[in-house]
């Protein structure tokens, strides 16, 4: 009954009338499938659906099967050349093809109903899904054979025993601040009025010692310090200049 219930009136370039009539005239070759714009039929059907506002599933499915079959037949007709027996598809053959197609579809449609019912009636059975107990997830002691090398443990232990190397700072450039050296000099002079440069700063690196000499020059300029060196490369005696002296000198 289904497709006959489809009240679809078509107004196509080539054909005006109901859909099932179109099917009949196509099958009897009163209208050439080659000239028929199947797209127009589909558009008409979609418009029909919009007007109706509801989709009757069975009718819609059958419509789709028919249109699909027509499309396939038409594409065969459009194939060029040698496959002549295809080109000469007789109307009766087209009917048979269409019917066979629809019957085949129906078979699976009915099987689907049965499967759905079965699915429904089976849904209450639930199966267990749990991990295996731990003892089944590992090798049995009796079945275990040596697969690991004990040295791997020794090596891992050796890695753990190795203390991490000191962080390498060689890529960082040392900088020595003149400010800080000035402070160090003044601090040293607070403790003692005079001291030997090497005693005080001999432990510093060369750069720090050099900057400290710059700081001494700065303090000399300010009149805070003076020094003595009796010979080249000899010891340097640094001396504080008393503020009173500065006052007197000025």
């Amino acid at each position: 009954m289904a497709i006959a219930d489809l009240d679809l009136d078509l107004d196509l370039e080539l054909f005006a009338g109901p859909f099932d009539l179109l099917m009949a005239v196509v099958l009897r070759e009163e209208v050439s499938l080659l000239d028929l714009q199947l797209g127009e039929v589909v558009v008409a059907y979609v418009e029909h659906l919009e007007r109706e506002g509801e989709l009757e599933l069975e009718v819609a499915t059958e419509f789709l099967v028919l249109i699909a079959a027509l499309l396939e037949l038409k594409s065969r007709l459009m194939l060029p050349g040698p496959e002549e027996e295809l080109d000469e598809l007789k109307p009766e053959e087209a009917v048979e093809e269409l019917i066979a197609r629809m019957l085949e579809y129906r078979r699976y449609r009915d099987a689907a109903v049965e499967l759905s019912a079965r699915f429904e009636s089976e849904r209450g059975y639930l199966y267990r899904s749990a991990p295996l107990p731990a003892e089944l997830r590992r090798v049995a002691v009796e079945a275990a054979s040596a697969v690991y090398d004990p040295d791997a443990l020794g090596t891992a232990l050796g890695d753990l025993l190795t203390e991490p190397p000191d962080v390498d700072l060689s890529h960082i450039r040392p900088t020595v601040s003149l400010e800080r050296r000035l402070r160090a000099l003044r601090d040293a002079l607070l403790r003692r009025k005079d001291f030997d440069f090497d005693d005080e700063f001999g432990g510093e690196d060369r750069l720090t010692q050099a900057v400290t000499v710059f700081a001494m020059l700065e303090l000399y300029r300010k009149g805070e310090v003076t020094w003595e060196q009796s010979e080249c490369f000899g010891p340097i005696r640094v001396k504080k200049v008393a503020p009173t002296n500065i006052g007197k000198g000025a």
Binding site: M1, I3, A4, G17, P18, D20, L21, L22, M23, A24, V25, L27, R28, L57, T61, L64, V65, L66, I67, A68, A69, V95, L98, I99, R101, M102, L103, E104, Y105, R106, R107, Y108, R109, D110, A111, A112, V113, E114, L115, S116, R118, F119, E120, S121, E122, R123, G124, Y125, L126, Y127, R128, S129, A130, L132, P133, L136
Partner: protein, 189 residues
Amino acid sequence: MSDLSRTVEALLFLSPQAVSAKELAEATQASEGQIEEAIELLREDLAEGKRGVVLREVSGGFSLASDPGSEEAARRLLAKPRTPPLTQAQAETLAIVAYLQPVTRPEIARIRGVSSESGVTSLAERGLIEESGRSQFGAAIFKTTELFERLFGLSGLDQLPDPSRFDPSPEDERELRERLLKAGEQRAE
């Protein structure tokens, strides 16, 4: 209950998949005949309505399942929503795959008359069908899964309803033919 049936029950309890009589025999080092007997005892003890667990024969073997009467409580406990029913597109696609497997996607579409992309995808997502290689033209080939047999309570694909049951009757066929032609003729008059 015999020692062997107890062991068989334990194996079915532990195994995530259905276990065949042959596998049970190997694991218990018993004969298949003894396994048959043990299963027979279990079948009685775990018949529907007796306990909370029932013995089922699915996908080529035996499996334990919870009694359907406890489904609601189980879903509450496990916070597992009920699986939605199959849509018509899914059911049709599944029927085609189940009866024709292995079958390609274009073949499914040809029979249904529509592209079956979404039906195929959703069934694969639900684990009911799976790809099993490619045809010589590169189309994906599908077959049903073990889960399909389990969820449909089938002990094997041969337990699917006889497909000849779905053959259209000669009357159906005649009716269809007449309808296609007659309807047109009437209107053509």
